[in-house]
Symmetry: C2
Subunit: 340 residues, 2 copies
């Protein structure tokens, strides 16, 4: 790489002016140049390995071709990775690249990071949370095209995408019902977040649809980790009229239920069936037997967010939409018919 090759070098090599090179390379203005010249210029450009400096063209066009992704937590779960990957794939396909920042829970840091993105003239922002929750948008990003990822806002003028919690829970419970279970318990989350309410609602919906009424003592809540799930499941499975199946708020909770079952000498799925939610592969796949669960479409949500964002940026104005994405059931080995 002797000397950085810019558009001038291409022009010189092709024996035309800089202008012509630009016209020849940009699809939009290529009508201003003879097809033959165009071809020639393109050949030379490719030959030299010319790639336009996006700082310069961004400056000129007021379009950086950069998208910002601001998230609270990139670290603890693999979910974050899937969302980001979905976002990046979509961005890449349209010639954009993502700048990712994450702020933990520090909202002042978040502010400064957003400003930093704005200094880089990002064309839009995906504002992501690592689990489905309500947010208020920082006012920094007024005026900037924005899409919410795994979050909803009361401000309905901004598009958002979240998992369809209710339908997901319904699907999970359906797999239990269609395996023959009627006495189904649920271990819900104690936090006041959309998933908690949505999944409980889905649980009830599915039962009601089949004319089943849940026993009140079979519905419980716990801190949504393995220890919480273990204790809650321990209590549920020790009941005289213990449920024959457990619908768990999350895969981590379900892992606790496995531990409880094991401690009580109950086999899965012969003695008790279990379904989780999240499809946290690291766990669902590692449990023995594998955990039947419902996948949260993180990759697809990341994609959706960016596609929508790019349409807002490049396309005509269309009304914002609040999207809910479907969550497919992933069958493994933790659901069987109820014991006789």
């Amino acid at each position: 790489m002797a000397t950085k090759i810019g558009i001038r070098e291409v022009a010189k090599a092709a024996g035309v002016s800089v202008t012509t090179v630009s016209h020849a390379l940009n699809e939009a203005t290529s009508s201003r140049v003879n097809p033959q010249t165009q071809q020639h210029v393109r050949a030379v450009a490719k030959d030299l390995g010319y790639a336009p400096n996006r700082l310069a063209s961004g400056l000129r066009n007021q379009r950086s071709q950069i998208l910002g992704l601001v998230s609270d937590e990139i670290t603890t779960t693999p979910f974050a990775g899937a969302m980001i990957r979905g976002a990046q794939d979509a961005a890449y396909e349209r010639g954009y690249v993502m700048m990712v920042v994450n702020s933990g829970l520090d909202s002042e840091l978040e502010q400064r990071e957003i400003r930093m993105l704005q200094q880089h003239q990002v064309d839009g922002i995906v504002y992501a949370k690592m689990y489905h929750q309500g947010v208020v948008l920082p006012e920094e990003l007024d005026g900037l095209p924005t899409v919410l990822l795994d979050a909803v806002s009361t401000d309905l003028s901004v598009s958002s995408v979240v998992p369809d919690e209710i339908a997901a829970a319904e699907a999970a419970v359906e797999t239990l019902i269609s395996a023959g279970h009627t006495g189904i318990g649920m271990i819900n989350n104690v936090d006041d977040i959309p998933a908690t309410h949505g999944r409980l609602e889905g649980f009830h919906n599915a039962l009601r649809r089949h004319g089943l009424t849940p026993a009140p003592q079979h519905i419980t809540a716990a801190v949504a980790d393995t220890a919480g799930g273990r204790e809650a499941a321990m209590a549920l499975l020790a009941l005289p009229d213990r449920p024959s199946a457990l619908f768990c708020f999350s895969d981590r909770v379900a892992m606790g239920a496995y531990q409880a079952a094991s401690a009580l000498g109950l086999r899965i799925p012969e003695d008790v069936s279990i379904v989780g939610m999240d499809n946290l592969e690291l766990i669902a796949d590692a449990l023995w037997p594998g955990l039947t669960t419902v996948a949260l479409p993180h990759y697809e949500m990341g994609r959706w967010a960016v596609v929508r964002l790019l349409n807002d940026i490049e396309g005509p104005t269309v009304p914002a939409v609040q999207e809910k994405l479907a969550c497919p059931v992933v069958h493994r080995g933790s659901v069987g018919p109820p014991p006789l």
Copy 2:
């Protein structure tokens, strides 16, 4: 936000020239402006919320203040997240921002992504792998400052940072030895990667240091996931002279060992002690009892890589270094004294 405020607006508002504003704001050239004027200009700038357009200044300075992070897999493990967060934190502190791309295993895609980063004039690149491995650097990034993250190259002219696998394994095994174990088994990985060799070497080192010799039949290898660990552990624990403790290649393998122990009616840690590696919190924390393991310093490696990269970019040339970062033991509940 009536109209975008640029340096001209600040100049007008402060009643000075654009030049003076620039000088006043840039620490380096501030000697050319009266301290009083400087203060005034800065006040006005802050008042207006002025923030320089980095596209423009990048173009002018040939410095984008952007770092590229190219990785193979951002998705499957939470490790990726920790590395990226470490990298970002370090970048942010120095006023840089990260552009993250990931290519899966598609090296042609990787090429194109790197070129895209170059178009954005990134000042340097962190080339990251999601587990410690050897790589050959794509030639695209000749001439660009580069640091390897969780990877090593035969090309010693580029700096790299990886976990100190050997010391990590030694530390893990030490915790078993100091709990009184003498018959220690190991379930290694079957893949031919640095971690496999390093951890085995560490295992031997620790034993040798205490005058112990491992029984050959106690050293085994398996596919490094839970199922592999389960089967290997099953075999090991069914041996007539079964080891009293198991050193597992990874936490996922260790989870398999838990399952095997449970299936064989062995309690942890009363009947058998187990240590893992990786400190995959999702698993290590969720197991019951908690898994004692060795943390891989992903966050710190990410940080190290960026700090080093920025020094290469901004500072004087110094020889490349191949860094190995220490791995702290995380004590939970899976190690106890050997049974009598």
